[in-house]
Symmetry: C2
Subunit: 552 residues, 2 copies
């Protein structure tokens, strides 16, 4: 029988190669097409999802007889799904027990399980899309792509990096040290990967799979049993994912408790108990900077990887495509209602205006151009709904209202027509001056952006890159026709730790981060200490045990 590893070896190989070349590749097709996923796949997934509503989702894990779960769809759908509850100690004990055999399994067996799991996740992309859509509020297309194939590719990327690091290690070698005319000294050495212990992965509500898979797969293939602690508002996407993973583990002869779901309720959170548990050895966290800091400070000797928040900037110096620029920015501000950690917030424009293909444009004209871009993009309610999706958290709506007083409102936020029952909001744009730091130099999560009047592009770059360094930033963008300005900004944002996108006027947006090519989060500013994916993200998740035997 072909092993899981053999079955998917070519995919692994290609993922390893592409991680080195960092060119374009995807293992999992992003088109939600019947031709690729099967003509009935979408309808089947819808039925499966509908059947989950109002039911108990049981993974067959150890539990304490209680139930948790209170997910409410931002689109207004009643979910009423409950999950068996478990005590922290129950799950950690089960995880450690399951981890014993898992930690001793071969690299190929573990990687094989991960690859098979990813393959089956891919086949369930429509189901995952429903689950992601109705927890995060993402519109269907994004829920499918980012929650399905893109998340799967980020998972595969982590597997590839981890495999690469583990495969470096020779299993057995003879060490022969010459001794001049005497016989050489001889040792036979065996090297073995050893896991660190129980791994905890803490998910977020906006990208429950995309932000969870990398740490999850990296810890898993390096031999650690994994407990996934989903956000209480987005349990289902991970419950569905883990159910499939537990099936693969069982088929491969492992204890399914190598993967455990630790669901909880928002009013009785268990995350801190997991973070501080003495047996938790690795933690991957995605969420707020405030809680991220708490995790970093309270994790003890556990290895911690975080993706926290930041303030993303666009610096506008000049452009030879004013219309392309404003359209591109408008799309970036609108996509998933600005709830992406990669969405821009601060748009820096010289107060004296800029040169463009349409001649000189004043500060106000540039701001107006972005407003017009937004109005055009979102003028059709159906298209608006498809781009914006719904607002995950009610607090975001409150935040939109509160920023209207911080400056001159260039564009007001509105609800979207026809999205019955959904929380919706179009982007607001507020004009402020560079000196109004209290307004714009903190993260205002959601469809909120500022156009900021600066003395010069030099000042724009200075403020934007400094705020990246001190407050964190996950993306940065620049529009300019000057190579000198590009060089200057490249240096500044390299120091600031934010990847810089230059002159995006077409079908690529600053929010987008591609597996195998773009490092998502650099680890070089407070937006997070991890990068998806580099060697630093995987190499410390395992250690090496050596056996040396004297020969002769």
């Amino acid at each position: 029988m072909t092993s899981f590893f053999e079955r998917h070896q070519a995919t692994l190989q290609k993922a390893c190669e592409t991680s080195r070349t960092r060119t374009y590749w995807a293992a999992y097709p992003e088109a939600p097409s019947g031709k690729i996923y099967g003509e009935t796949a979408k309808a089947d997934a819808q039925s499966t999802f509908d059947a989950m509503l109002g039911q108990t989702f049981d993974l067959g894990q150890p539990n304490n007889g209680g139930a948790v779960g209170g997910e409410v769809s931002p689109f207004g759908l009643e979910m009423n799904i409950s999950y068996p509850d478990a005590d922290v100690e129950q799950l950690v004990t089960a995880s450690k027990e399951a981890g014993k055999a898992w930690g001793k399994a071969s690299v190929e067996d573990r990687v094989g399980v991960a690859l098979e799991w990813l393959d089956r996740l891919n086949k369930q992309s429509f189901l995952i899309a429903n689950a992601v859509m109705h927890t995060s509020g993402q519109a269907f297309m994004m829920a499918f792509q980012a929650g399905g194939p893109h998340a799967q590719d980020r998972g595969l990327e982590a597997v590839a990096y981890a495999y690469d690091e583990m495969a470096k290690l020779p299993g057995q070698v003879r060490w022969e040290k010459p001794q001049g005319k005497n016989d050489p000294l001889l040792l036979d050495k065996t090297f073995r990967i050893v896991p660190r212990g129980v791994a905890l992965v803490i998910g977020c509500a906006t990208f429950p799979t995309w932000n969870t898979y990398p740490g999850l797969f990296a810890s898993l293939v390096t031999g650690n049993p994994v407990i996934v602690k989903p956000h209480p508002a987005a349990i289902l996407p991970l419950a569905v994912s883990l159910k499939i993973g537990r099936e693969v583990l069982t088929e491969a002869g492992f204890d399914p408790n190598v993967l455990l779901l630790a669901a909880d309720n928002a009013d009785a959170p268990k995350t801190k108990d997991y973070v501080t548990h003495k047996d938790v050895a690795i933690i991957d966290f995605t969420g707020s900077s405030t809680f991220g800091q708490w995790v970093r400070e309270n994790a003890g000797n556990a290895l911690v990887y975080t993706e926290e928040a930041g303030v993303n900037s666009i610096v506008i110096d000049s452009t030879d495509n004013f219309r392309g620029m404003t359209s591109n920015i408008a799309f970036s501000l609108s996509l998933y209602t600005g709830q992406m950690c990669t969405a821009p917030q601060n748009i820096y424009i010289p107060r004296g205006g800029i040169e463009t293909d349409q001649g000189h444009k004043s500060f106000d004209e540039v701001a107006e151009g972005i407003k017009i871009g937004l109005d055009k993009l979102l003028g059709d309610p159906a298209r608006a709904a498809a781009i914006l999706g719904a607002v995950q958290n009610e607090a975001t709506i409150g935040r939109i209202n509160s920023v209207q007083s911080l400056g001159r409102v260039v564009r007001e936020s509105n609800e979207v027509e026809g999205m019955n029952g959904a929380r919706s909001a179009t982007p607001t744009v507020v004009a402020v001056d560079a000196k109004d730091e209290g307004a714009y130099l903190e993260e205002r999560f959601g469809p909120i952006s500022f156009v900021i009047a600066t003395d010069s592009t030099g000042q724009s770059i200075e403020i934007a890159s400094s705020s990246a360094k001190t407050k964190g930033a996950i993306t940065a963008a620049l529009y300019t026709t000057s190579e000198d300005v590009i060089d200057q900004a490249a240096d500044a944002f390299a120091w600031g730790g934010a990847p810089l996108s230059v002159n995006l006027t077409g079908g690529i947006f600053v929010n987008q981060s591609a597996a195998y090519s773009d490092f998502h989060v650099t680890g070089a500013n407070p937006a997070g200490n991890a990068a998806l994916t580099d060697a630093a993200f995987v190499a410390n998740r395992f250690r090496v045990a050596t056996l040396r035997r004297q020969v002769g």
Copy 2:
């Protein structure tokens, strides 16, 4: 002109290769031979060293006009070397300033400087040997080998690993995403290594170069300026090393302050001020577990790699070479008077005795065999002095006396005849029972070992591997004629995080850890979170900045 990188590229290549094959190789010859190092090298180094005594050693660094330095040779030589003093802020500021150009240099330029520096350090191995000998108390041969070529090889190993990780990154790529019948989406991407910030390396008194070079070279080549904080009792070896490094930097056109020495006095230590400084981004620490814990807890967001302490074990089950076993153990206990972090402390023997090639041996006979091994090895005072060296710290002598009451003294410690003015001590061996955990289950640094009577080899393995896991251990050894026992111990010590050496009866000793092949410290128990050298030791010392430019 050939660049430094080109000049040493073959050496780098071989180091990278050997780090993968983990077979035997050394770039720097370990024989202190005139044929290799030059017939006058030894005498020249002696003169240079003598001329340093009683003088100020000035590296030309920023300073505050004061002086520090109070090194006293454990061999009794008056040193009276002083070093210009500097304020913490002075050095950190100079380091940051120097780091700007260094962080933007090419990988090849930085690695070239490191390789040239290592080459020049190698040529000065006799001088380094004198400096290491008269600070650590190591006998000359060990001071030469461990302080010179072996330390240089560990440094090169770190450079090779770091180079490998950095070289993975493509400089520039075109990313092309197909769009069906439409034109593909195109981005030109440039990836750039960015350093984390000021790196701090905290040295120890027993292996001032061997334990310092890996972190120092790893941080350096990944673009970080480095401040080296030597142990107040062992400044000279690092002052000599850094002087050479600063010369290479200057020749290569860099600010020599990329490398800075932060000497201090034991009664006015500055380490904590460096550790907690906001601009210190990476810390490598070698030293006690107590201070190591303080460093880990107070380093803030700095990345921390430590080598702390542990309790190393030998499990004796059976042997087909009783004499070889006892001789080998005797040497391991004696080498550098047990002051190696790799020296064994606890020797577990079943209370019912063991089977050997000389028939059954009772517990007492095995203990006596080790005593006889020690007496024979150290019977000749000249040979004893050459193996033992001197005792670095007076406190170790006190510790030897204090353990005599913990059990039955199998062998008393004595001073070594003829080592005039030196602090010397031969190993003491104390017999205890497995239940006397208070006696043997903590680190007793120095020439102190326990023979411990257990119920069985199973119990020996259980206690030894558990103590590795909970107290830390850097080495472990096993003597047995049973493959089953080897398998059992291999599993137990893999879990315990200590590399296991089996049946060493010849010229290889459990204390020895070879560059490119043996992982020194596993990171899997409290003896340290770092391993020399694996990808985890280097990959997180830099981050990656990306520039994406839309094409067309």
